[in-house]
């Protein structure tokens, strides 16, 4: 019974929504609205499920004086101080709502403590992405080179006046590749591959000026084209795959094949 009732609840709620899509009239349409309303109420409580383990885990750290216990204490205190401040706004302030524009909770705590903390935490990522691009982004093969070129074209094409810098950036890339091909050719004995490398090197050197002019005139349009054609096609393909997987998983949950959520 401990598993059968939840499985039945899952089936009834999920199946009703599918039926209501095809028969939106009474009683299915009305039932769907009612179930949606209940879902709005109940799903709010899922967001606080992890709080007990968060507070208990940190309280244990403080009790047992484990390493970093002062920070665990700071976490618990900030939870209760935030909660009490919000409670004060609910009980004593005229709007009875800590999220009203005139509430002290919003004016001081949210704007000056919470927002700077959250925003700066994510701002650190800019530094990490620059460092990661430098360390890990390698043109090891054709596909990764294609990825790099696409990234460079979009990065420069989607910023104002990026087309002014693009001829120099791509000129340097072409020059470096040409030098690489010439070095490769110099290490080979006469043959098709040697002449191919020389030809590629000469081609790249010759292409620096015309490609630079092309980028200067058309880089924003090239970036537009990349976003609206090949990028769109690949993303659509990926998202169609994700959607099919999502539908399959949802159906497995509704019919009770997938039961991991009951643990």
């Amino acid at each position: 019974m401990k598993r059968e009732i939840p499985l039945a609840i899952t089936f009834i709620s999920g199946f009703l929504l599918i039926v209501a899509l095809f028969i939106p009239h009474k009683p299915f349409g009305t039932l769907q609205e009612t179930f949606n309303d209940w879902y709005i109420i109940v799903s709010g409580f899922t967001m606080i499920l992890g709080i007990d383990s968060l507070l208990l885990h940190n309280w244990n750290k403080v009790k047992r004086r484990k390493s970093d216990w002062p920070y665990a204490l700071a976490l618990i205190m900030s939870f209760f101080l935030t909660f009490l401040w919000g409670l004060y706004s609910i009980v004593y302030e005229p709007t009875h709502n800590p999220f009203a524009p005139t509430a002290s909770f919003l004016k001081y705590f949210y704007k000056s403590i919470f927002v700077p903390l959250q925003a700066t935490m994510f701002a650190l990522l800019a530094f990490f992405i620059a460092s990661a691009a430098y360390r890990a982004f390698r043109a090891r093969e054709i596909n990764s080179t294609l990825l790099l070129f696409s990234a460079a074209l979009v990065m420069l094409g989607r910023v104002p006046e990026g087309e002014q810098a693009a001829p120099y950036v791509f000129g340097i890339i072409f020059l470096l590749f040409a030098v690489y091909f010439f070095i490769e050719a110099s290490l080979l004995t006469a043959g098709f591959l040697k002449y191919l490398y020389i030809a590629l090197g000469v081609l790249l050197l010759a292409a620096i000026y015309p490609v630079g002019k092309l980028l200067l005139a058309y880089l924003p349009k090239i970036a537009d084209w990349i976003m609206n054609i090949p990028q769109l096609a690949a993303k659509r393909g990926i998202l169609i795959g994700v959607a099919l997987g999502g539908i399959a998983m949802s159906l497995r949950i509704i019919v009770g094949i997938e039961r991991t959520y009951l643990k």
Binding site: K2, I5, P6, L7, T10, I12, S13, G14, F15, W38, Y39, I41, V42, S43, G44, F45, M47, I48, I51, D52, L54, Y71, A74, L75, M77, F80, T82, I90, N97, P98, I113, P116, L117, A119, T120, A123, A126, I129, N143, S144, L146, S150, A151, L153, M155, I229, P230, L232, A233, A234, G237, I240, G241, A243, M249, S250, L251, I253, I254, Y261
Partner: protein, 214 residues
């Protein structure tokens, strides 16, 4: 005066987090733990202000008849959800979780089918010939449509792993990976843009709002 004080508080927390770039330190750890603790409390306050009070308390106060008494069911399910905190009866929370999971699954099937799969597949049915204002315009538009159709199909085929990628399937998959690499490059470019924008926002706050230098 109060606003100057709170600006300095905001700047203190901003610099505490940024100090992590040099190395992990007590200021960063302190700020990080404050963030986690206050976020948790935030969710509890939101639950009362935007969910329980208007929907349940307000519902019982202002609704009449069956609309009022039927609210006992979601109220009961919400209480069942909270039994997760009480070990001996935590199994009862499965009923509430089953309801939310069932609803999410039902919404997922209907939304994805009607709102994503059908319109997106329909939008991929594009003409291979598009008449334009000139020969080159027509050529450009037609090639674009062909690329969208081929790119979408090739990408989907790339993710078909039930057969080995050999022969015709191998060729289509290789075309698919080409489109995917271009897409990932574009996504990387946009991700860099996003992260840098977040940093610009914080630096602007420090320079403009805190130090008044610009």
């Amino acid at each position: 005066m109060t606003s100057v004080f709170w600006t300095w508080v905001a700047a203190f927390f901003t610099l505490s987090i940024l100090s992590f770039l040099y190395k992990d330190n007590p200021f960063y750890k302190f700020a990080e733990h404050i963030y986690v603790g206050s976020s948790a409390a935030f969710y509890v306050l939101q639950l009362w202000v935007f969910d329980v009070y208007p929907k349940l308390v307000g519902g019982f106060q202002y609704k009449v008849g069956i609309e009022k008494w039927i609210l006992i069911i979601p109220a009961f399910l919400s209480v069942l959800m909270l039994t997760r905190f009480i070990k001996p009866i935590s199994w009862l929370s499965r009923w509430a979780i089953a309801f939310t999971v069932g609803m999410a699954a039902g919404l997922g099937v209907t939304g994805l089918l009607q709102g994503f799969l059908v319109p997106q597949v329909k939008a991929t049915f594009l003409p291979f010939y598009v008449p334009g204002t000139s020969f080159w315009n027509s050529f450009y538009l037609s090639v674009n449509n062909i690329l969208i159709v081929l790119g979408t199909v090739a990408t989907i085929f790339y993710f078909y792993f039930s057969r080995e990628h050999k022969g015709a399937l191998g060729t289509i998959s290789r075309a698919g990976i080409t489109f995917i690499m271009i897409a990932f490059g574009a996504s990387f470019g946009y991700t860099v843009m996003a992260r840098v924008s977040l940093l610009i926002g914080r630096m602007y706050f420090l320079i403009h709002d805190w130090l008044h230098l610009a």
